[in-house]
């Protein structure tokens, strides 16, 4: 958890949000490139979850903190898939903008994970 992965994930999620913003501005529907980008973030979040599970025993995190930590990490795993499902069901600018919400929420979740880990 102390490595560069959390910060890289935050940066990637914000970059994803910016890319989606361009898609919304150009009225482009999500494509395989965007899905691949989200897939990489998803993979990184999964690695973060595994790292947290392996390291939580050595870290001095109280029970409630650990529940919160894994709650955020599990939320981080479902946000983008659910966002894509809800977004791809319709072809419209509003539907693409759903991914803005998912990207920002993803970044927020990793920030909160980091805060809980270091507090």
């Amino acid at each position: 958890m102390d490595g560069p992965l959390p910060l890289a994930l935050i940066a990637a999620s914000l970059a994803f949000t910016l890319v989606v913003l361009v898609y919304v501005a150009l009225d482009r529907t999500p494509d395989w490139g965007l899905l691949g980008f989200a897939g990489l973030i998803e993979l990184g979040t999964l690695v973060l979850l595994v790292m947290a599970a392996l390291e939580v025993g050595d870290a001095d995190i109280p029970g409630a903190g650990a529940i919160t930590l894994f709650g955020y990490l599990l939320a981080g795993l479902v946000l983008l898939p659910i966002g894509f499902l809800w977004s791809l069901a319709e072809r419209s600018r509003g539907a693409t903008a759903v991914l803005l919400v998912a990207g920002l929420a993803q970044a927020f979740v990793v920030v909160r994970t980091l805060q809980v880990w270091t507090s």
Binding site: G71, G83, S92, G94, A97, V98, V101, A105
Partner: protein, 131 residues
């Protein structure tokens, strides 16, 4: 009648969905791990979570009377955020721990205050046309 779940409504449902997940999960953790510290605040967080779930389902047109559910939930949300927001500004000691509606949702970037207005406007905007 326009659908509440299409176009801009899709984003609104997504934002409500994130709040439903966040508020509900947070209150469950609080009630399970430290219910005795601030029972009123945590119970209020749970109510807020349920209201966001109801608003999400209503706006996403799930269930038998989704528009009525959405009006009720978003209306309750507006009253809730204004009431709890005013009470916590007047008396910050009232709730020992933060709720999603404390200080008009300042802890969540004021979104809890903006959201019900956006929800009510959207419900009005997509209302059935009477002839």
């Amino acid at each position: 009648m326009s659908s509440t779940r299409t176009g801009a409504g899709r984003v609104l449902v997504a934002v409500y969905g994130v709040f439903a997940l966040a508020a509900t999960a947070r209150s469950v953790v609080q009630l399970v791990t430290k219910a005795d510290e601030a029972p009123l605040a945590y119970a209020l967080s749970a109510v807020a979570g349920l209201v966001y779930i109801a608003a999400t389902l209503g706006l996403a047109e799930v269930g038998p009377a989704p528009r009525r559910l959405a009006w009720a939930a978003v209306g309750f949300e507006l009253v809730g955020v204004l009431t709890v927001g005013t009470l916590t500004v007047l008396d910050p000691e009232l709730f020992p721990d933060q709720t999603v509606w404390s200080s008009y949702g300042a802890g969540y970037g004021w979104l809890p205050l903006v959201l019900p207005f956006a929800g009510l406007w959207w419900l009005w905007h997509t209302r059935p046309v009477t002839r």
